[in-house]
């Protein structure tokens, strides 16, 4: 296998880099960027919303994925069945549809229950943020649940038998052996899944959650520009993805992974 990393100073790389810089300079000078100062504050806030959404739903989704995976790997049929069904439905339907089903579908049912407006839950039911969090969390859990299932099933049975032989209770052996080993096995995919989750976050803008995509949509509508706002949005996401990938690489370097 040929080494992938090559020096930056190779002539063709320099030429391509020069072309790329040329394109960026061309775009920066000839395209209309006068709207940028007006929206910069909102854009920063939007990026913050995106990152908070990503963090929250990834953590919650992972916490949900562990029992889902465990239920499928080791549970009785009345646990593994529903877990399996949940993962199949989530992975078999588009996220956009799930999002709209939750927000507009449930919303259309509210009209039949006027009493709901007096309840304590109303402020949460009426704002869009909880629906976005719920849909993204369920989506993450659905996909990660599959990964966790494979991870739980893949932990060598010998280790679990050894734990039993030591006299550990099922709960202790789960807590000390099975769960940590399964999470260890799932860790390499976590980086990829988090990047996928970042790419799923813009969908919440369609249910009025204001993230960076929603801000750029506002820019598009106010200025009628086709290229500039979208190019900036693509750039923002590329930077965010890059930051995520680097962060995960740093994390993986800190966590020792011995073999399987």
């Amino acid at each position: 296998m040929a080494p992938e990393l090559r020096s930056w100073k190779e002539p063709h790389r320099l030429v391509l880099l020069a072309i790329a810089i040329g394109i960026v300079v061309f775009a920066a000078t000839t395209m209309r960027w006068d709207w940028l100062p007006r929206y910069s504050g909102k854009l920063v806030a939007g990026v913050g919303t995106t990152l908070w959404l990503l963090f929250l739903t990834s953590v919650l989704g992972f916490l949900l994925a562990v029992p889902l995976g465990l239920a499928q790997a080791a549970g009785p049929f009345w646990l593994s069945g529903p877990a399996r069904a949940f993962c199949t439905v989530i992975r078999g339907t588009p996220l956009l549809l799930q999002l709209w089903l939750l927000y507009y579908g449930l919303g259309s049912l509210f009209a039949y229950w006027p009493e709901i407006r007096q309840s304590w839950a109303w402020p949460y039911l009426r704002s869009a943020w909880p629906y976005g969090v719920l849909a993204l969390t369920m989506s993450f859990a659905g996909y990660e649940g599959e990964v966790m299932r494979g991870a739980f099933a893949g932990v060598p049975k010998g280790e679990l038998e050894a734990a039993r032989a030591y006299g550990m209770s099922p709960w202790t052996s789960f807590r000390r052996i099975w769960l940590p080993r399964a999470i260890h096995r799932a860790l390499p995919t976590l980086a990829g899944e988090t990047v996928l989750q970042l790419k799923a976050t813009p969908l919440v803008a369609t249910i009025t959650v204001v993230d960076v995509y929603a801000i750029i949509s506002r820019v598009r509508q106010d200025t009628y520009l086709t290229y500039e706002p979208l190019l900036l949005l693509a750039l923002i996401y590329m930077i965010l993805t890059g930051v995520l990938v680097v962060a995960f690489r740093w994390l993986e370097a800190k966590v020792p992974v011995k073999g399987s």
Partner: protein
């Protein structure tokens, strides 16, 4: 087997083949959302409504071959500017702001903008009534401009929706306290759903609310604009306008 595959691919490819836009065909962009009573899809997948009938009348009068091309509302002006469509018939108000980017035909109707709320809410259509309320509007409309200019410092939150029917839905669900839109569109909504009522028109602001609704056209497309203007005047003159409007409204929506 191989020839079967090749013919299948060829047939598939031909079914999507792009054809050069002919001079006679006018692709008329409409918003890809139900906007009763002006445009809405029916159960056969055809587009019906007052504005569709208006478009048909004008196109017959001007001898143009108009093709209804649904486009997402928030991309409809960029679609016009990049020649994906040739005209916009989507209840688009004629405003100074829009005139910077596109041209308009003469107006073909003019109705006030109103606020709708759930029944018995006691909200009045002004800054005092909307204080600490959640207001919903559709993006890229004069109503959004109005609400942002006049109510953004008093309203608790301004929620922006991609389509008007989403805003209507959220009012019915109670997620927003008030929505602002065209009086006829909201009239159709409150008639179809028992949840809500119109509380009144907002104070006029001609700079934002514009001077009526016109057909959106590309800047400099004067030939098409002339054709539309002549046709609009003609159908007003010969009574066709009044004829198809009768089924929808009991007053003349042309306005002043």
């Amino acid at each position: 087997m191989k020839t079967k595959i090749i013919t299948a691919i060829a047939a598939f490819g031909l079914s999507l083949s792009a054809h050069a836009a002919s001079a006679e065909t006018v692709r008329v962009g409409v918003a890809a959302e139900p906007y009763p009573p002006f445009t809405q899809p029916d159960a056969s997948g055809n587009w019906t409504g007052w504005e569709i009938e208006f478009m048909n009348a004008v196109c017959t009068e001007a001898k143009l071959d108009c093709v209804v091309t649904p486009v997402a509302w928030d991309g409809i002006i960029p679609a016009l500017m990049s020649s994906k469509i040739d005209a916009i018939v989507g209840s688009m108000s004629i405003t100074e702001e829009r005139m910077k980017s596109i041209d308009f035909s003469d107006k073909y109707y003019n109705t006030p903008s109103v606020i709708a709320t759930s029944k018995g809410s006691g909200i009045t259509p002004d800054a005092a009534g909307l204080t600490d309320k959640i207001v919903g509007v559709q993006v890229s409309t004069i109503h959004q401009d109005y609400v942002t200019t006049h109510f953004s410092d008093v309203a608790a939150e301004i929620k922006e929706y991609q389509t008007q029917d989403e805003a209507n839905q959220d009012l019915a669900a109670g997620r927003v306290d008030a929505i602002m839109a065209d009086s006829l569109a909201l009239d159709a909504f409150v008639k179809s759903d028992t949840c809500c009522e119109i509380v009144g028109a907002v104070e006029d602001d001609p700079a934002i609310l514009g001077a009526g609704v016109g057909v959106g056209l590309r800047k400099g497309d004067d030939e098409l604009r002339q054709k539309f203007n002549t046709a609009i005047a003609a159908i007003r003159e010969n009574g066709t306008y009044a004829e198809f409007s009768k089924a929808y409204f009991d007053f003349d929506i042309y306005g002043k």
